[in-house]
């Protein structure tokens, strides 16, 4: 393949509000190879909207425009909804920020993973159950046998996230967009789950967009980082250089993180008047 896996030029997402239309993503451009790209930035900066735009999952009245949005030679802006549905999940998948929202509340966790497996690669029922348990085990869920029979409201926050991750990885997509995939996981499971994703990137050449507000995690698991603020990309840097970031906004984010041996009485916060979010 020549050219990047994903190329985006001048992407804008607009929502109508009582005070007129507001651009929550403002003409951003970036491209992605078979690499790990991190998107960080404060809440409301447009990270999720950027991720959802790629899958054309922005619902009306939201509007998406772009000069170019090309995935592996496919012009996404021109694709019909029917063809997008075929792409979603199979070639581009997204772990949503709100896992329980995205799981079907009336199907057990095991049935849902099973369904994802069947669609990807049909197999006999007995074998299916075994593969489901294997997937749950792979995302480090204890007692997979019991958990497979639970409904989404019966699993803990971190279990829900791992179920989503398992489902999104099953089809072995070319591009995985992971929106805060591990925000509910304890640190040791978090590292294990990110290692699983990492194996797919390095082993199978998957592209990864990792959206997170956890700067340390993104620095550790990505090659390149985009910093977003108010719908724009304000800084782009190699992950290993994040601590040398220049932009005052990025520096502000770094300073706002509590440390393990924290002794500050108050954490520095960003001046919101200077960084008016939407």
């Amino acid at each position: 393949m020549t050219g990047p896996l994903l190329s985006i030029k001048n992407l804008t997402v607009t929502f109508p509000t009582p005070k007129g239309p507001v651009d929550v993503v403002r003409g951003i451009s970036f491209s992605l190879g078979r690499e790990r790209l991190g998107i960080v930035g404060e809440s409301g900066s447009g990270k999720s909207m950027t991720g959802r735009s790629i899958l054309k999952l922005i619902r009306p009245p939201g509007r998406v425009t772009a000069d170019e949005m090309v995935f592996d030679g496919i012009d996404l802006m021109a694709e019909s909804e029917r063809r997008m549905r075929a792409l979603r999940g199979a070639r581009i998948s997204m772990v949503m920020q709100d896992p329980k929202f995205s799981l079907n509340p009336v199907m057990t966790v095991g049935e849902q993973i099973g369904e994802a497996l069947q669609t990807h690669r049909p197999m006999p029922r007995r074998q299916l159950r075994a593969r489901v348990l294997e997937m749950l085990h792979a995302v480090r869920i204890n007692e997979p046998d019991r958990v497979a029979d639970l409904y989404p409201h019966e699993v803990s926050g971190g279990m829900g996230q791992r179920v989503m991750i398992a489902m999104m990885l099953i089809p072995e997509p070319d591009l995985l967009i992971a929106d805060e995939p591990t925000s509910a996981l304890d640190v040791s499971v978090q590292a294990q789950v990110l290692d699983i994703i990492d194996e797919l990137v390095t082993g199978k050449g998957m592209g990864l967009i990792l959206i997170s507000h956890d700067l340390n995690m993104v620095a550790r698991y990505c090659d390149r980082i985009l910093v977003m603020n108010g719908g724009e990309i304000v800084e782009e840097c190699a992950a290993r250089d994040l601590d040398k970031a220049r932009h005052p906004y990025t520096r502000g984010l770094l300073a706002a993180m509590p440390r393990m041996d924290e002794d500050r009485e108050e954490l520095p916060v960003l001046d919101r008047t200077a960084w008016a979010a939407t």
Partner: protein, 248 residues
């Protein structure tokens, strides 16, 4: 008087017991953290205290009175819970304003306009969000609404389930500063679930580390800061957070 006392607490969902023999005493004005493995029962303990996980044995007492097995209205005025999931915890068809005013209406309290404005300001949300619906807010904005709602009744105890895990570091810093200030000014007690050890270091006095439904260690925050937690599992969590271990 202790704010929260748990004695030999076992909690089950149907046939499955998920929390085993937990005993803890949290003093009034203390800020206490529950950390540990995903699925180890941290949220379940908070839910049992709030009356939302009815199938428990042992004792739970809050501000000196034993807890019943279900939520009750008087309890809501002294103890409020902020849920882990900022998506599920807000009603999709109620505006921020409705959601914040609701506890006031339930308890027959007045001064809606002023209180809603004040609490929005306290959690750092601009007034223009007041009449929006949850789907028009980002994840972090929703979590600020959830915290604001818990503060509406001016409770003495807050049960906080991952209150900042959906927030970016700058909003997290604001919320953490806010929680610290509220505690300083109003003597609030916190029982906080988090997987972020630096957050514990900033906000808490003590922590309990959980695994497989049990508490494996209770420690002072000083031990965390020094990297001197005692149990192997606690030390594993500490190391996975990027901390440098010291002898216990």
């Amino acid at each position: 008087m202790n704010a929260i006392e748990l004695t030999h607490l076992d909690i089950a969902y149907g046939p499955t017991r998920v929390v085993h023999d937990v005993s803890l005493a949290i003093a009034e004005g203390e800020s206490f953290a529950l950390v540990g493995e995903s699925g180890s029962g941290k949220s379940t303990i908070l839910k049992a205290i709030a009356g939302l996980a009815p199938d428990w044995t042992g004792e739970i007492s809050v501000l000196g009175s034993p807890r019943a097995h279900r939520p009750d209205r008087g309890f809501a005025k002294s103890c409020q819970m902020v849920f882990q999931d900022p998506y599920g915890s807000l009603h999709p068809r109620k505006t921020v304003d409705d959601c914040l005013a609701e506890p006031l209406a339930v308890h027959g309290l007045k001064g809606r306009d002023g209180r809603v404005k004040a609490v929005l300001a306290a959690v750092g949300l601009d007034q223009r969000f007041r009449f929006r619906y949850p789907h028009q807010l980002s994840g972090g904005q929703r979590q600020r609404v959830a915290i604001a709602r818990a503060l509406m009744l001016e409770p003495r105890i807050l049960l906080l389930d991952e209150p900042t895990s959906a927030l970016d570091v700058s909003v997290q810093a604001e919320i953490l500063n806010l929680l610290k200030k509220l505690r300083r000014e109003q003597g609030l007690t916190y029982l906080l679930v988090t997987h972020n050890l630096p957050v514990v270091s900033f906000l808490c006095d003590r922590l309990a580390v959980m695994r497989h439904g049990r508490i494996v260690e209770v420690a002072h925050v000083e031990a965390l800061k020094r990297g001197a937690l005692a149990e192997p599992y606690s030390r594993e969590l500490y190391a996975a957070s990027g901390g440098t271990l010291q002898p216990a």
